[in-house]
Each structure stands twice: as C-alpha cells, then as structure tokens.
C-alpha cells in the first residue's frame, strides 16, 4: 500500500477539520496557559499544570465511555459490525494514553503543591486502578482468536470496566481525600476559578477532545486495515490448504 492510498483511506475532510480545530485550540491553551493566565495566589505557576491535567482526565473518561458505548452497540446490534469493536479498541488505546498523562501531570503537580509525587489517597488509587484495568482490556484484545471472539470478550470487559468511572470521579466525595474536590463540576453551581483560568481550561477541554476524536478516527481506520489484512491472510491460508487438499487427491 503506497502513501497516497494510505492517505486516501485514513484522512477525510472531517478528520482534517477536527485536526485543524485541535491545533488551533491547543495553540490557544499553550499561549493562554503559559502567558495570558495569571498565577494562582497559593500555587503560583504550578496552577498551569491544570490546563493539561484536567482536560486529559476528562478525555480519558470520555474515551472509556465511548469504548463502553461502542461495545454495547456491538453486542446489541444484529450484524455485530466490527466497526463498533474497532472504535471501542481505538478509544481505549487513546484513553489509556490520556489517563497516563493525567497521572503523570498530577504527580508533578502534587510534588509542587502537596510536597509529594504520590499519595495512596482515594482519587489517585482509583485512577491508577482504572488505568491498570484498561491496560488489561487492551491485553485481552490482543489475546488472539477470531475477530468475533476478540469483540465479544473485550465488549464484556469494557461494559464492566466503565463502572469504575463514577467510583473515580466521586471518590473525593465518598472518602476523605488529599485530592481537591471538583472546581467546575462541583454540583453547587459555584465555579471557584478566575475567569481567564476557566476560559483557558474550557478551551483545553475542547482542544484535547478534538485531539481524542482525531486520534480515534485515524486509529480505528488503521485497525480496519489490520483486520482486513488478517482476513486476507486467513483467506490465503484457506486457499493454500484447499490447494494442498486438491493436490493430495
């Protein structure tokens, strides 16, 4: 497959538009986060980590929810379209990357503000458990077998794993935690954040969400190619076996 064919199959006007949106909003976040927004009165410049930490956490949640929805669609649909399974897999892969970024950025933020990289507090522990669960999900996807077998077992795991998200999100409310409670989605309608900080954070959420969408769309198309290649190899193997049998006769 040459580069031109690859480009024709993977990139579309929609992905290009989403990609452009991602670039513009990410540029805004870099400028806004590093130059325009003020320091925090307590945390100083460390608050700027928030513009990466919060959006990556949001995108990781979103990715795992998309994985669960796509998995449910695969299980419930009559045709069991493999497209659903590929979206589920692609979304989980991207989600794992973003979740790891959340933990890494949070760890750096914690070192500067709390005074330690890590604490076994409810939010950090449940988040790391969520990450490990989805790494396991990806490992299960790679166990082999037919495409249907892969789709069925990973769909079941995805539907169970997504139940961890409310546990992670509400862990700071259910238990006493070192991690601060939500500032924007606090539930009381009171957003405890400076205006320019909030704007940059929201643009960051948009930017990272566009990046997520762009990555998933491309990745699921690459997965479709891999599946097609696997099926071609299977067909070739079947043909060879049939030829071998015919030859023996």
């Amino acid at each position: 497959m040459d580069a031109q064919t690859f480009n024709a199959r993977v990139a579309t006007p929609t992905t290009r538009l989403i990609g452009a949106l991602a670039i513009v909003s990410m540029a805004w976040v870099v400028i806004g986060g590093l130059i325009v927004t003020p320091k925090d009165v307590d945390q100083g410049d460390a608050v700027r980590i928030m513009y990466v930490h919060v959006p990556t956490a949001w995108v990781a949640y979103l990715a795992f929810i998309v994985t669960a929805l796509a998995s449910a669609c695969w299980l419930l649909s009559r045709k069991h379209s493999m497209g659903f399974d590929r979206v589920a897999g692609a979304s989980a892969e991207v989600g794992v990357i973003f979740m790891a970024m959340t933990l890494l950025s949070g760890s750096l933020w914690g070192r500067i503000t709390w005074g330690s990289y890590w604490a076994w507090d409810p939010r950090l522990t449940t988040t790391s458990f969520l990450l490990v669960t989805y790494i396991g999900y990806l490992a299960v996807r790679g166990l082999g077998g037919s495409l249907e077998q892969r789709a069925r077992r990973s769909a079941v795991i995805a539907l169970l794993a997504v139940l961890e998200i409310p546990l992670v999100h509400f862990s700071v409310l259910m238990w006493r935690s070192l991690h601060q409670k939500a500032s924007v989605l606090s539930g009381d309608g009171d957003i405890k954040m400076d205006g320019s900080m909030l704007t940059t954070l929201l643009v960051g959420v948009i930017g990272f969400t566009c990046t997520f969408a762009w990555l998933v769309m491309h990745r699921q198309r690459v997965l479709a190619m891999q599946d097609a290649m696997q099926m071609t190899q299977l067909d070739a193997a079947l043909r060879e076996r049939a030829d071998e049998s015919a030859g023996l006769k």
Partner: protein
Amino acid sequence: MDLTPRTSEVNAPLAPRKRNTKWGYVAVLVVIVVAGGTIVTKFLTSAIDYYCNVDEIGSRDGCEPGRRIRVQGTVEQGSLKSVNNSTNFVMIFNEKTIQVVYEGDPGGIFQECIPVVAQGRLVGDVFEATRIEVKHSNSYVADNTERLTKAEAQVCSPQAG
C-alpha cells in the same frame, strides 16, 4: 486455528511466533492482575487511616492516640516556627488544636493558614509527623497585588475538610 499448509517450509515458523505472542499477552495479564491486587491492597490498608480531623483524635474509630494516623487541619496563623531543621506548628480544626513537630522542610506550598495532612504518631501532647502533605483547596484565585494585600489582611480560618 492454524491453517498453515503442513508441507510448506516457508510458512512453518509462523505458528511458534503466534504462540509466543499469545504467551506474551498472558504474561502481561498476570502482571496486570498482580498490579491491580497490589493497588487495591495498598488502598485498603491506607484508607483505614486516611485521614482523621484534629478534633477526632481519641473520639473516632481508627483515630486513637498512639497509633500511626494521618491528621488533617489548618496551620494556625503565627504558630509556624523553624528550629534546628525542625518545623513546629499548631494545627487547628473545629477549634481543636494540636502541636505538630516535623523534622525538615515539609515542601510543596506549605505555609500558615493552609490545610495540611500530617502523617505520624501522637506522643504525649505532640504529634510527631513523618510526612506532611499540603491539602490545597479547589479554589483558583488570580495572584495580584490587590487580592494579595486583602488576603494578607485577613485572619486565616480553619477550612472544613
């Protein structure tokens, strides 16, 4: 399902490679199960004493004096002193106070009027901390001179946990 022609020498090495890949994934799964188990165990162990408020010492289950606990409270204004590499301060919560001693500099954004979680043991009337973590709030306020002056003028009050 291995459909590789049995007589083909060219394709023969494919089968063992697939088995190796499969065992690789199984090994990853085992590691993940062990890692998951470790995380849950650490969490449950840690969750038992994470954390007590100052006013709960001696009155809440798991917050008995003498055992190793984490205590949350606000660093009382005017109480912070550094003597011979030792940090001494008073932690306050719901009008109950406790004297805290920590060897070294707590790090982070540790300062007066900020909520902290101190991990250690109560020896007599003094809490000997081995680790101090700053528990910053979920409010993000722009740092500017006007607000800073206003904040400095205010007397800090214990924050609810």
